[in-house]
């Protein structure tokens, strides 16, 4: 992408306006996600530059893309999903999975898409208190269910015991599987699962961590179980 970039565009795109101290101390104003959103918007603008043949087209720092007015998707059905204690009215095709509804329509991207086929566990959420793979369920099948995502674990700004234990024990490396791991581990506390580490490994086998943070994940889970 770099070789196509207009030389007038600063290499850091829209990020130059944000100072680091501003960013990380005031999460309400600037979050990791808004940072990434701006970054990708800048990337799109830069990549588009050679195509529109205008030296000024990308001169301004990138801003968040305007939200597209809601369009009527053919076959979309209105229904209500209860997520993290709140009702959300949605208008979705029946083929939209719960995972895609959370990430793409409800701005809850904490639930991750890994394999999208029930083989990795990154998309784990709770439905009526039980852990499930949100990639293998249509959103429309969950009218009347109580859905909890990783965004719903912290209460009043306090991390849940499992979230805190993952931090304390460094139960992750890249972090992509982490929300699924924490949702699984949280549900495990209420399930029949043996007390030793081997039992925890078996009960957590539906969540793959390609960084291999398993030892620390087991330690985090065991800490919460011992303190429970």
């Amino acid at each position: 992408m770099n070789k196509n970039r207009d030389p007038d565009v600063p290499s850091n795109g829209g990020v130059s306006k944000v100072s680091p101290d501003n960013g990380f101390d005031k999460p309400d104003e600037f979050t990791r996600r808004s940072f990434l959103t701006q970054l990708s918007a800048a990337g799109i603008a830069a990549a588009a530059a050679p195509l529109i043949h205008s030296p000024h087209a990308v001169a301004a720092p990138a801003t968040v893309i305007e939200p597209v007015p809601e369009t009527q998707v053919p076959g979309a059905v209105p229904f209500v999903l209860n997520i993290n204690g709140r009702d959300h009215r949605v208008l979705l095709e029946p083929r939209v999975t719960l995972l895609d509804a959370l990430r793409e329509n409800l701005q809850l991207p904490g639930t991750k898409k890994g394999c999208d086929h029930g083989q990795c566990g990154a998309c784990t959420v709770h439905v009526n208190g039980r852990r499930v793979n949100s990639c293998l369920s249509f959103a429309i099948m969950h009218q009347g269910d109580k859905i909890t995502t990783i965004e719903g674990l912290a209460q009043d700004g306090e991390l849940s015991p499992m979230q805190a234990a993952f931090l304390e024990h460094d139960g992750f490396q890249c972090g992509y599987c982490t929300s699924g791991q924490i949702m699984s581990a949280t549900a495990l506390l209420k399930e029949p699962c043996g007390s030793d580490d081997a039992a925890v490994r078996e009960c957590m086998s539906g969540n793959i961590c390609r960084c291999g943070a398993y030892n620390n994940i087991v330690a985090a889970v065991q800490t919460v179980r011992k303190n429970a």
Partner: protein
């Protein structure tokens, strides 16, 4: 994924009505097989009937001492049911060896019986597959067939049946209760699954619009012990390369009654009456277990990459019999 008409059923009659007039309608319960295959364009139903609202979630004792399991009972609930754990240990063990806790919370009893194969050529529409696209050929026979079947195969299909639960139910002589447009019927599980032959797309006796409502298990003789052992490429969250479900009733050290089924090696959950006959009225000994394993695998037809399964299946059966016959009763 292709678009489809979505219908939510609240009763069995609702569900049957919704599916009856629609060619190519599918019921969705847990979704763990169907939605996976819809994303791959292997399944392309025009209508999907959601049966999660059906009142088929009970596990009930029957008057004759058996068990009646609703089709919508989730795998995790069935595995942790106290009666199943105590009296039908093999079923609980099989269920807990399958998939992951999340998937077991979703997957249902009826759906598990209808799991589709994990054959990678079936799951990839770029390849020929007689099961997915009848008459197109079988890419697995001359392809990489390490995970494929050695029993019950045909020149048209060598795909294994992936279920663990069904293997245990085969050894428990379960019956499938079916309602459908052509009436209601009870089918012994042993007659439910079809061999691929020249029609591998037809995996069981269900007709279009049929719905499994229950599975029943007969009572077992007092003192019966059972065990499920599964061998696979990793310790958990993986399909079987070879597995064995055994149900034995002992008379001292003599085997009075034996039921044997194998998984991961055959095109359907594989009951072995030959192995049962080789075990009954004989001492529980490694020599006799090995003899039973030899007859169970006598008809095996290994292919280029899966010859190892012949010995693996024998060993998993011997080991499983050893565990079941030495358990404290």
């Amino acid at each position: 994924m292709e678009a489809f008409q979505f219908i939510q059923a609240k009763t069995v009659d609702n569900a049957l009505d919704a599916a009856r007039p629609q060619a190519g309608a599918k019921f969705v319960a847990g979704g763990t097989t169907l939605i996976d295959l819809m994303k791959l364009n292997v399944e392309r139903p025009k209508t999907v009937v959601d049966i999660n609202g059906l009142p088929l979630t009970q596990i009930e004792s029957t008057p004759d001492g058996g068990l009646k399991i609703g089709a919508m009972v989730r795998n995790s609930d069935l595995a942790h049911d106290a009666t199943v754990q105590k009296r039908y240990t093999v079923l609980s063990e099989a269920l807990l060896s399958g998939a992951s806790p999340q998937l077991r919370n979703m997957a249902t009893t009826g759906g598990n019986l209808l799991q589709r194969t994990r054959c990678y050529y079936f799951r990839d529409t770029a390849y020929a597959c007689n099961k997915r696209d009848p008459g197109s050929g079988c890419a697995a026979i001359d392809g990489f067939n390490r995970i494929h079947a050695i029993l019950g195969t045909s020149e048209h299909c060598i795909a294994t049946h992936p279920s663990d639960m069904a293997v245990a139910m085969m050894a428990l002589e379960a019956t499938v209760i079916i309602q459908g447009p052509s009436g209601n019927r009870n089918v012994p599980l042993n007659e439910f699954y079809l061999l691929p032959g020249s029609t591998p797309q037809k995996e069981n006796v269900l007709a279009p619009g049929d719905l499994i409502t229950h599975a029943t298990l007969p009572a077992l003789p007092d003192g019966t012990r059972s065990h499920y052992l599964k061998l696979r490429d990793r310790a958990s969250y993986e399909f079987a390369l070879a597995s064995a479900a055994v149900v034995v009733t002992m008379d001292g050290n003599r085997i009075r009654r034996a039921r044997v089924a194998l998984g991961g090696v055959a095109t359907r959950p594989w009951r072995s009456p030959e192995a049962e006959r080789a075990l009954e009225n004989r001492e529980a000994s490694e020599k006799n277990f090995r003899a039973a394993a030899e007859v169970a695998l006598r008809g095996a037809k290994p292919l280029h990459d899966n010859a190892f399964k012949v010995e693996l299946a024998k060993r998993v059966l011997v080991r499983s019999l050893k565990v079941a016959t030495t358990q404290a009763s």
